[in-house]
């Protein structure tokens, strides 16, 4: 176990530690500058001499290319993604970015790196696929104002994607409540605007507005909780807060503070009852953006929850401090059930996916509850950290592979949206005849979401359920093997969460498979029988998702190793 290496801003090792973020930052600058490079000149004051300074004026052909920003964003995000993966090759160094006085601001380790991987991976795919979503009417000076405007705002869209990625990675790295909040808001604001980006569409604008309003309320409550924690401990540092929690974690103030923080992040992961805006937002946003909300944004919420609940309010600190466990258990149960039941009757595929996303949030919360339960109850603890690492690995693995099949599903809908509309289940009708590749891909994404072997979704669900059951049975497992007699009354109550997950998975089969029925057996809608709009980028992204879904299902061991390294590096006292 390596010790933390403290690095001051711009000191030794700073660039290596924050390489992905710096790449994103450079990409942001490029996105702002490059579209403005042109034949602009500068008149030296008092003279008639004009000096070429390449800024403004008539743009060059290459810099005015409306596809340019998309490529810059894709390459930037892709480079950041590759950088995070490469950093796993010879083990991630634990590096903390500290202020001059030695306060930790950001911490780079396996855990934060794996989440960066999720964010950048999802954003790369979404950015790449978005190339076929924004309309481009051509290049040149003879465009109408509308077209020019359309070309211009291409850059805006991708700038927002990059800021979103930057904000998310700050959340993953944060070791300080203030930094955490800044990252959270940077990412949130970017997503609010992304949801409402098509302001010509009424639905999109309305959805963005709602998402923004409800989101700001949740953020407000969360911020209030953070300030309560500060009021109580006099510090914003995670480690200071955690130490305080051990001493007097039973005070009402920190408990309520944590509760309010739960509201803020609960909105991000769309946990009941804070999930109401999510279906509207997903349905109103363009599909790639909805895909980001369902994968990257959700992972950001989960990492925030993990940090707040398992590091700051660590249940092992004090027995009474674990009241949030019960709370989280109830929320997870309600969330997964609500999501699945609402999805059952949904006739809009995007809303259906939104509710399925709510249900998956419930599964994740159940897993976090189980980790807490393991830490809390002495009688449950087996080999130190073993069960917690197993469950946490499962959570991380789930979030990684979710990018493949959730985002993939949204990208398929994105192609249909370009064709006109994807807001009814019947829009998928006859897809198997119109474009078999998309139909097969969509079907595989659906059954992976449902958890059918040997796909990635099955492996992740199996791991989560297996982990929870292991936590619930604890030491009893060995004794049962040895012939001990135990009943259901003896297992920890998180066992029931695992059971609820199984029942919910069974329910979810219905609506996932219905998509297949519509695609393969029903006729296309009136007037939508022709071929789908072209665009190789989105299909390439779908293919990548499809390969990942299949590959992670049959050969999960390498990725699992990465996830395990990440899980172990969350809390070093577990080893």
């Amino acid at each position: 176990m390596s010790t933390v290496q403290n690095v001051e801003p711009f000191g030794d090792g700073f660039i290596a530690a924050l390489c992905p973020e710096l790449i994103i930052f450079a990409g942001l600058l490029a996105l702002i500058i490059i579209p403005n490079i042109g034949k602009g000149t500068f008149r030296i004051p008092g003279t008639q001499t004009r000096v070429m300074w390449l800024f403004g004026g008539e743009r060059f052909k290459i810099t005015s290319n409306p596809k340019m920003p998309a490529w810059i964003a894709t390459i930037t995000l892709g480079a950041a993604f590759v950088q995070t993966i490469l950093s796993f090759q010879d083990g991630v160094d634990r590096t903390a970015i500290v202020t001059e006085s030695g306060t930790q601001l950001l911490l780079v380790n396996g855990f934060s790196r794996v989440f960066e991987m999720i964010f950048f991976g999802a954003l790369t795919l979404a950015a790449f696929a978005s190339m076929n979503r924004l309309e481009v009417k051509g290049i040149g000076p003879k465009l109408s104002t509308d077209d020019l405007y359309n070309n211009r705002r291409q850059a805006d869209f991708y700038i927002l994607m990059l800021t979103c990625g930057l904000g998310m990675s700050v959340v993953a790295l944060a070791q300080d409540l203030f930094v955490l909040f800044i990252g959270l808001e940077l990412a949130s604001f970017s997503t609010y605007v992304l949801v409402a980006f098509y302001k010509e569409s009424k639905v999109g604008t309305e959805a963005g507005m709602k998402y923004f309003i409800v989101g700001s309320v949740a953020s407000g409550v969360g911020l209030y909780g953070l300030s309560m924690l500060y009021l109580w401990a006099g510090s914003l540092q995670f480690d200071v807060l955690a130490a305080q929690f051990v001493i007097n974690g039973t005070d009402p103030l920190p408990l309520i503070g944590i509760g309010f923080v739960l509201v803020g992040f609960g909105f991000k992961v769309s946990a009941a009852p804070f999930h109401f805006a999510a279906p509207d937002a997903y349905a109103g946003a363009s599909s790639p953006v909805a895909g980001i909300l369902a994968t990257a944004s959700k992972a950001m919420g989960i990492i925030g929850l993990i940090r707040m609940l398992l590091i700051v309010a660590s249940p092992e600190a004090s027995e009474d401090g674990t009241v949030w466990l019960t709370l989280l258990g109830i929320i997870s149960l309600v969330t997964m059930t609500w999501g699945n039941i609402a999805a059952l009757g949904s006739t809009n595929p995007k809303r259906m996916l939104a509710y399925s996303s709510v249900a998956h949030a419930g599964y994740m919360l159940a897993a976090i509850t189980a980790i807490g339960a393991w830490n809390w109850d002495d009688s449950l603890a087996g080999e130190p950290g073993e069960a917690a690492v197993a469950v946490l690995t499962a959570v991380i693995f789930h979030l990684v592979v979710l990018v493949a099949f959730k985002l993939g599903a949204f990208l398929v809908l994105s192609v249909l949206e370009s064709d006109g509309d994807a807001s009814r289940l019947s829009s998928l009708g006859g897809l198997a005849k119109r474009e078999p590749f998309l139909a097969v891909a969509m079907f595989i994404f659906m059954i992976s979401l449902a958890g059918v072997p040997p796909l990635a979704g099955f492996v992740s669900k199996l791991l989560v359920i297996m982990g929870i059951v292991k936590v619930a049975i604890g030491q009893m497992g060995a004794e049962i093997m040895a012939g001990g007699d135990y009943g259901l009354a003896d297992v920890h109550w998180v066992w029931w969460l695992a059971l609820a997950m199984v029942i919910n998975s069974a329910i979810s089969m219905f609506y996932y498979l219905r998509v297949g029925v519509v695609m393969f057996f029903e006729e296309p809608e009136e007037g939508r029988t022709g071929p789908l709009p072209a665009g190789w980028q989105v299909r390439f992204a779908i293919l990548a998702c499809l390969m990942a879904t299949l590959f992670m299902g049959v050969a999960s061991d390498q990725l699992l190793e990465i996830c395990e390294v990440a899980a172990k590096s969350l809390n070093y006292s577990w080893n």
Partner: protein
């Protein structure tokens, strides 16, 4: 992912790494041909030069054959097994182990021993020849235009299934490839799916073999339960392990093997699961050749041959005698029954179909007897016993080889006949509009004329000399005429059946059956040849038949020589083929010694009993049966027709016997027995009736229960959850105010809960 490539090579062969290609090449060609066929259908280059995929298939099958031959050559140095396997682990991570979940291993490996080598050669060699034949047969028939790619795609998949089954290193993979073959047989038999009879035949073949497969899988599960693995390696070393075998119940093992044998009965079309085979003639003739000679039916024999280590185990001595008897008995019954039915068939291919059934039954009898000997004699230590066992086992396997070669040739030759008769018919009746529409089957006279019926042939020996020769040699091999092909192996099977009958009186029945069957074979094979090739043309069409094309001639030519040179194979010790190097190829004996030995062994056996038996068998199989046929069918050819010199004596003999001893067999032909035989002993009738009464009745009841009880409950659950879903979704009002209200409610709930606790 890949846990490691375990190479447990007893014979070091660098070629082992290429062995998977034998299976993979045809398997990959399947989607390629299908895809290209869809894309380039009707494209002239695809149609004429690529033969709609036939050339791709040809290249692939030739590659498979070449690799197979190289592998076989490497194997011939000694008679141990070669093995090479790759394991793939699923759910393989320390994370799973912490949850007490062990990773699931999927391994595939290649296992080569003396049984594999034989079947590998038969399958890859015949698949290639049948492929060549198909190009001449399928691509010249206008009915098949623009859909031959489907044929070739399914064809290569079929071959891949057979080769995979032969090479696989475990019973599990054997079963997987076995099922691939089942699927392909369904697809190919139903190639003309627009014909109701073809669709029906395909269904029948699939369902009948499926009955056997159910038992096979039960047997495999029992094996798994006993040995904890289905790998040959593991199981075959376990049966030789004294401590392990002490914990195995031999009666359970016998049941497991017996259930697996039922699978083989289905696949190899033995009584009572034989009903699918004659109907399988609905497929194109190359498919019949493929199913009957190269692949499908041999699968069942291969499975039984694979069971040898159980019977040969020291620790199971005398325990599996009953099963050996059942194998031999099923063989004996089928041999006689199928031969009897073949007496009255008029369809050329149907005669061959029943002949296949009957000959396979011989092999089963041979295997059953060899198994009995292995199970009762102390063959692993006693040299004499050893010799007896491997000769018995080798005879059965050698008959498989001879039968496959001869039957492959016979089917292709029959295909050649049918093809030409069909063309001649077209030529006669569409003389004016020959180029207009070949596939017009709506016209009445098309329906009446049956190109496969022997009643429409006759006198073709002069018109199709090569085909007639091939058919003659093939028939002689199946009949077991001395010195030709199947003679060596059939004598071996009969001799061993009697040897066993002397030991165990129960075996008297199968031994009698194979002896009588020899005479019957002589009769129906001669009848088939004479009705087709000798005598005067029975119809106008038969008088106008022409010679076939080159693609069809090549395999006939090659196989004629393979069949005739069976004596060489016998000399090399094919009849002594068993897991021991002493009697194998490349032993100290040279070829001429081997031939001399075989000759003296067959014709001048020192043991009086076997000496007499040999000549009895020859007398009834080569004289009595054919003689009867000679007097009933055929006759001299039409005036002015000339035949090749080697067929002249037979035609003359036929004319002489026919003229002198011909008698009226109307009384027998119209008897009840004959009618029963023509109706295939009413098996289909009773099976259909049983299906209708029992299975259909049960299905109706189940459907009712399903509709009212199961569906009812599901519908209730569905409507229930849907209405809950409606309520839940109605809470998502679409108004941001309500959402904020819910957030507030949630926040307050959390607040009060935490407040209360704290």
């Amino acid at each position: 992912m890949v846990a490691g490539t375990g190479t447990d090579t007893i014979i070091d062969s660098e070629l082992m790494q290429f062995a998977p290609l034998i299976i993979l090449l045809p398997m990959l060609a399947f989607p390629v041909i299908l895809f290209l066929g869809r894309v380039f259908n009707r494209n002239p280059f695809w149609k004429d030069t690529m033969k709609e995929g036939g050339i791709i298939a040809l290249v692939v099958m030739a590659s498979s054959l070449i690799i197979s031959l190289l592998l076989i050559k490497d194997h011939l140095g000694g008679f141990a097994s070669m093995k090479d396997s790759v394991d793939f682990l699923w759910l393989n991570s320390s994370v799973y182990e912490s949850g007490n979940l062990t990773s699931i291993s999927f391994g595939f490996g290649i296992y080569i021993d003396h049984i594999t080598v034989m079947l590998l050669f038969v399958a890859s060699f015949l698949c290639l020849l049948i492929n060549i034949f198909s190009i001449g047969y399928m691509n010249t028939d206008p009915i098949n235009d623009n859909r031959n790619h489907r044929f070739y795609a399914e064809f290569v998949l079929f071959c891949s299934g057979m080769l995979g089954m032969v090479l696989a290193d475990s019973f599990l993979w054997l079963f997987i490839f076995w099922e691939i073959m089942g699927l392909c047989s369904y697809l190919l038999i139903g190639f003309y799916y627009e014909k109701p009879s073809a669709a029906y035949a395909a269904k029948k073949a699939f369902l009948t073999t499926r009955i056997g497969d159910v038992f096979l899988i039960i047997g495999l599960v029992m094996m798994w339960d006993m040995f904890g693995s289905l790998d040959y390696d593991v199981i075959f070393s376990a049966v030789e392990d004294e401590t392990f075998m002490a914990g195995v119940s031999s009666s359970t093992l016998q049941w497991a093997l017996g259930l697996m044998f039922i699978g083989a009965v289905g696949k190899s079309a033995q009584f009572p699961l034989h009903v699918w085979l004659p109907d399988a003639m609905e497929g194109p003739t190359p498919v019949s050749a493929l199913i009957h000679a190269a692949t499908m039916v041999n699968a069942g024999l291969y499975l039984v041959a694979r069971m040898f280590p159980f019977f040969g185990s020291e620790y199971l001595q005398h325990d599996l005698v009953d099963l050996a008897f059942i194998i031999a008995l099923i063989g004996g019954i089928t041999a006689v029954m199928a031969a009897a039915i073949a007496f009255v068939q008029h369809d050329l291919k149907k005669v061959l179909a029943y002949s296949t059934m009957s000959q396979l039954a011989y092999i089963f009898t041979g295997l059953g007897c060899a198994m009995f000997l292995a199970n009762t004699l102390d063959w692993q230590t006693d040299a004499d016993a050893h010799y007896i066992v491997i000769v018995a086992f080798g005879a059965a396997l050698f008959h498989l080889f001879n039968h496959a070669m001869a039957k492959g040739m016979l089917f292709m030759a029959s295909g050649s006949v049918i093809h030409e008769v069909h063309h001649a018919h077209h030529h006669l009746h569409h003389h004016d509009d020959h180029h207009d529409d070949h596939g017009d089957h709506d016209e009445g006279h098309e329906e009446e004329f049956d190109a496969q019926s022997m009643d429409n042939m006759g006198g073709l020996a002069s018109k199709m000399p090569l085909t007639a020769t091939a058919m003659l040699v093939g028939s002689a091999s199946i009949m077991g005429l001395p010195l030709i092909g199947g003679f060596w192996s059939k004598e071996g099977i009969i001799a061993n059946a009697w040897r066993v009958a002397l030991e165990d009186p129960r075996f008297f029945l199968p031994a009698m059956c194979v002896l009588v069957g020899a005479a019957m074979t002589g009769f129906y094979m001669s009848r088939m040849w004479l009705k087709t090739f000798a005598g005067k043309p029975k119809t106008e069409v038969a008088a106008h038949v022409g010679q076939t094309n080159t693609w069809i001639k090549i395999p006939l030519f090659v196989l004629t020589f393979v069949t005739l040179s069976a004596i060489l194979f016998a000399g090399m010790g094919f009849t002594h083929w068993a897991p021991d190097s002493e009697y194998g190829l490349l032993s100290e004996k040279n070829l001429f010694d081997g031939i001399a030995y075989e000759m003296s062994h067959a014709f001048a056996n020192g043991d009086t009993f076997f000496f007499i038996l040999t000549y009895v068998a020859i007398a009834i199989g080569a004289v009595l049966g054919p003689g009867l046929a000679l007097s009933l069918y055929g006759g001299s050819l039409a005036e002015g027709e000339k035949v090749k010199p080697w067929m002249k004596p037979i035609i003359r003999l036929n004319a002489w016997v026919y003229d002198r001893y011909n008698f009226d067999n109307q009384a027998i032909a119209n008897s009840g027995l004959s009618r029963a035989l023509e109706n295939r002993l009413y098996f289909d009738h009773y099976y259909d009736m049983a299906m209708l009464k029992i299975v259909a009745g049960f299905s109706d009841k189940s459907a009712e229960t399903d509709k009212n009880v199961v569906d009812g409950v599901i519908k209730k659950i569905e409507t229930g959850t849907q209405s809950i879903s409606k309520v839940v979704r109605s809470m998502t009002t679409g108004s941001a105010r309500d959402y904020i209200l819910m957030v507030a409610v949630g926040t307050l709930g959390i607040f009060f809960l935490l407040w209360g606790v704290a």
